[in-house]
């Protein structure tokens, strides 16, 4: 071996170079052979031409490279402004707002239970503080203002977004609410809603009552938004509430033909937030008026001035049999407290006489 290596170690560059070339071409041929085997195998197994397509589909799926268009040649934000129709309220909602809307509209979803709980809690607070009003005023004060803050916040958000349910009555209400809130945002909760309801014009109240049941629920303090045939309330209750709100002149109970379509709603607390503070019962009893009196006492303690006014208007209201006339005047005067105070008091004595007439 040593003998043979000697000539190599010498400066015989050409021989060395030939050797290098040989090894190199061997390597390259080896690579080619490997490739050939690979290709041949692929051909015989039938997967060599798998990535081939015909000219048509190549053209069809060609990558598009133009501004404003994705690689498939489609406008990439065409879904951005898509609108979906809500299956519940039939309104068109922007696709991006659809899920939040559904959550509110159907009362299902991530936050709705939380919202419902909060609503329940605040309602409980209200009824409780009504019952033991005189006992602990300070504590009630906190409750009231807390409730008021919450309510106003909720309502604002409601207005900003698509508020889920907007029945006729609700529209009135939202409008009125807006003005009352902006004019005096820090009034206690009870007081506030009372105003907003009472400040509906008499015509609006009448319209509302001709289309809906309108009985005020004991628990939610809301008006029933179902039709006149709603099975939850009796005709007596409806009559009483009409008597109460419109006076004896509007006592006819428009019926039946409105029937079929029930709004499935009264659980929608936020929208129809407790409009009034008295309970619903077939006829409004003295105890009810007393309780409403008690509830207003609280706000009176804050505003001693208005008490006089309310007393005055009560007197004027008590004189006339036609409540609507009185109501409208006081509505327009926009002194919410006075109307609020007057209502229960005047209505209560009226009821028995009306029933006498009826019978």
């Amino acid at each position: 071996m040593k003998m043979e290596e000697k000539p190599l170690s010498g400066p015989d560059n050409t021989r060395l170079e030939a050797l290098v070339q040989d090894i190199y071409s061997e390597l390259v041929e080896d690579a080619c052979l490997g490739l050939c085997f690979e290709v041949h195998r692929a051909v015989k197994q039938g997967y060599f031409f798998l990535d081939e397509t015909d000219q048509d589909s190549i053209k069809e799926f060609e990558i598009v490279d133009q501004p404003g268009v994705d690689i498939f040649g489609q406008v990439f934000n065409q879904w951005k402004n898509k609108e979906c129709e809500c299956p519940n309220c039939k309104r068109l909602i922007a696709a991006s707002r659809f899920a939040p809307h559904l959550e509110k509209c159907l009362g299902m979803g991530r936050n709705s239970s939380r919202i419902a709980n909060r609503r329940l809690a605040s309602n409980n607070n209200i009824s409780k503080s009504e019952s033991d009003q005189e006992d602990n005023d300070d504590l009630n004060d906190n409750d009231w203002s807390y409730g008021a803050e919450k309510k106003s916040k909720k309502r604002r958000s409601d207005k900003n977004q698509n508020s889920p349910r907007r029945s006729k009555s609700l529209k009135h209400k939202n409008g009125e609410l807006g003005t009352s809130i902006s004019s005096d945002p820090y009034k206690p909760y009870n007081y506030n809603t009372g105003v907003s309801y009472e400040s509906l014009g008499p015509n609006e109240v009448r319209l509302l009552l001709t289309t809906q049941c309108g009985v005020i629920s004991e628990h939610t303090k809301k008006m029933c938004t179902r039709s006149h045939r709603c099975p939850q309330h009796t005709d007596d209750q409806r009559r009483a509430i009409r008597l109460y709100l419109l006076g004896p002149s509007a006592l006819t109970l428009p019926d039946a033909d409105v029937g079929g379509d029930c709004f499935d709603v009264p659980t929608d607390g936020q929208a129809l937030l407790s409009r009034m503070q008295w309970e619903d019962s077939p006829d409004i009893s003295p105890s009810d008026s007393a309780s409403s009196k008690a509830s207003t006492n609280h706000s009176d303690s804050r505003r001693p001035k208005k008490k006089k006014k309310s007393a005055l208007s009560m007197n004027s209201g008590g004189g006339g049999v036609n409540l609507t006339g009185v109501g409208s005047s006081s509505f327009q005067s926009n002194i919410s407290l006075s109307t609020k105070k007057k209502k229960p008091k005047t209505a209560a004595p009226l009821v028995p006489s009306i029933y006498d007439q009826l019978n």
Binding site: E4, L8, A31, C32, C36, V43
Partner: protein, 95 residues
Amino acid sequence: MNKESRLKASINQKLTETGERDRLKELLRAKLTECGWKDQMKAQCKEVIKEKGLEHVTVEDLVVEITPKGRALVPDSVKRDLLLRIRAFLTQHAS
């Protein structure tokens, strides 16, 4: 001549024994794949296959057709790099 072929045999043996041949082979394959040589060769293969017919093509056909093209298509940089390595190996082990 006899001497030369024996020299060649001994060199080949050393290439295999040290594992340098495999290393060089792997390096070459990686470089050729990297620089697109493999894709070019596949395109050539496709032409050959279409010419001969999918069912009738043999490995011999492919090798005969492909190898000269493959040798020609190797990029200069790859070739230079490989020659350098082989030369280094020879000078290292031939002494």
